[in-house]
Symmetry: C2
Subunit: 113 residues, 2 copies
DNA sequence: TCACTATATAACTAATATATTATATAAGTT
DNA sequence: AACTTATATAATATATTAGTTATATAGTGA
């Protein structure tokens, strides 16, 4: 059971989503990740800490560098949660629409606006 | 372009995720959605407002009731964002692992710890 | 050793979010 | 009309978050 709270919360920030998108193309160091943004390095370090805490990235040590990459497990976990919701929705959607349509038809018959 | 910030932020709250899971089984009113939780009705109303603002649910009017259901489009949008990230990750994952393994082998050869 | 580079942490500020209670609104019932 | 039910809104307290600047830590290389 991964931490969905932390993971979705981490994803709610556009800077962090951009960092993840960048990491989808491969490993990168903190400064490399910081480069495209107009915010300071400490701010990026904090974003990375959030992403790591949420299980969305992992880091390794290479001298003074801390290269980051995506954590497959964490991303898969939230993907699965959403997939489950989406599937349940799809399963019920047509039926639900039918029910609602029927209710509307009934209202019409009863002379409601 | 849906509002990913709002959508992921909405999903970061466990009460709201539980509400969505409940709605995956079909429409429900505010009080029905509030029933399982130990928080007040106004708090639930706010959660629903957040979910609606994020495009994850829609509401209709039925007398004094405001039945809610999942908004297929919003859920599909974030699902797709995650699917894209996941796919990019999968595409790079094996190759990346190979690169990292190669780097480690090289380090070993160079006598690093 | 000294200076430089890469990153992290601390202290602080400003903005945002969640919950509560109290109250308003509007529809349904008698 | 009066009472009840379903929901929303306002006011408020508290907690969390994201950013800043300043500083610390730890490798790297001359």
């Amino acid at each position: 059971m991964p931490n969905l709270n932390a993971a979705f919360s981490a994803l709610s920030d556009p800077t962090r989503r951009a960092i993840l998108a960048r990491l989808a193309t491969g490993e990168a160091t903190v400064l490399e990740l910081a480069a495209p943004f107009a915010i300071t390095q400490p701010a990026i370090s904090r974003h990375l800490k959030v992403l790591e805490g949420a299980g969305l990235i992992v880091r390794r040590i290479d001298g003074t560098r801390r290269p980051c990459r995506l954590a497959k497990g964490g991303i898969e976990a939230i993907y699965q949660w959403l997939a489950t919701l989406r599937d349940a929705l799809s399963r019920n959607y047509d039926r639900l629409d039918e029910v609602l349509a029927a209710m509307n038809r009934e209202k019409e018959r009863n002379g409601h606006e």
